[in-house]
């Protein structure tokens, strides 16, 4: 069924148009990489704040206000550029275990990142004094960053699984 969808998608005018020029795919991939830079560095800064290794002069909420919009904006760009990449070569993405692994990891990473943030805000809201994050929160912060790293690896892997 996925294959039938891929065949249909590959025949759409948008797909044909993207495939007919040599520079569109590289350009879209470049934007995809730049958006990854924004997302990954935002995640890094958020997790470093939880770990109290950066941005200690500001509260967890202030760090969130600084970096969450960029994280979410970056994800939006990734979704749009990603969609274009899928449209340009449907089978390469959709009939590919690396791609689906990446999507699962993405769902997990977004859940973990936002979940940890909200847990931290709730803790801060309920304290009088600022309180360092507990062991569990720190562990999740580290693991969450590596989840995002795994997404990038799975993304690169799409090309390798397809090409053997």
């Amino acid at each position: 069924m996925i294959r039938a969808f891929c065949v249909w998608l590959a025949a759409t005018p948008l797909s044909v148009m993207i495939g007919s020029t040599r520079w569109v795919v590289p350009m879209v991939q470049t934007l995809h990489i730049l958006a990854i830079a924004v997302v990954l560095s935002s995640v890094l800064m958020l997790e470093l704040r939880v770990l109290e290794l950066a941005g200690r002069s500001q509260s967890v909420m202030q760090a969130a206000r600084r970096f969450l919009p960029w994280l979410l904006g970056g994800l939006a760009v990734l979704a749009m550029t990603g969609a274009l990449l899928i449209v340009s070569e449907p089978q390469r993405s959709l009939v590919n275990s690396a791609f689906w692994t990446k999507m699962c990891l993405l769902a997990l990473a977004v859940t973990a990142t936002l979940g940890l943030q909200r847990a931290q805000w709730r803790i801060v809201a309920s304290q009088e004094q600022p309180c360092p994050a507990g062991v569990a929160a720190r562990a999740i912060a580290v693991l969450t960053f590596f989840l995002w790293v795994a997404i990038v690896v799975a993304g690169r892997w799409i090309a390798y699984v397809e090409h053997g």
């Binding site: 294959r3 699962c104 977004v110």
Partner: protein, 151 residues
């Protein structure tokens, strides 16, 4: 919001069985049932994994100043190629060859390597991998079965 994210994660995980139909290697961009023969001069031989690559300049057609440059991808890398007699120096820039390939469906000058003959020496270099189109031939003999009467 959290609930939505957990549902999304679950949905993505359920989609994972679809991954079992993934292609290990996609020859989809090549027309594996067609063979094109090009007489050319080697421009570059890239001896790398997972695919070795050849860039060759086709002999100019009548009226052309220079011939087209073809980008030819071998289906495997050095490890497998060595087993069928290739070395890093099997071909070199300047060698005149006839190269057989399955062309790109897009029509651009390029394709998947099938065979190469070095014109000066007559040496034939094969692709080093099972022919991906062999299964498409209805009359292909089943090589696994011994001939009747033999063990």
């Amino acid at each position: 919001m959290n609930r939505i994210l957990w549902i999304a994660a679950l949905a993505a995980t359920l989609a994972l069985p679809a991954a079992s139909v993934s292609a290990h290697h996609s020859f989809a961009m090549f027309d594996m049932n067609k063979a094109v023969a090009v007489t050319a001069t080697i421009k570059e031989f890239q001896w790398t994994a997972p695919h070795a690559l050849l860039w060759v300049v086709e002999d100019p057609k009548p009226g052309e100043a220079t011939g087209k440059m073809w980008t030819v991808e071998l289906s495997t890398g050095p490890a497998q190629l060595t087993r069928v007699g290739w070395t890093k120096r099997s071909v070199a820039p300047g060698d005149r060859v006839t190269i057989e390939l399955s062309p790109l469906r897009s029509g651009e000058p390029g394709g998947s390597f099938k065979k190469l003959t070095i014109l000066k020496t007559g040496t034939v270099l094969e692709s080093g991998a099972p022919d991906a189109s062999a299964d498409n031939l209805p009359d292909a003999p089943d090589k696994a079965k011994p001939a009747p009467g033999q063990r």
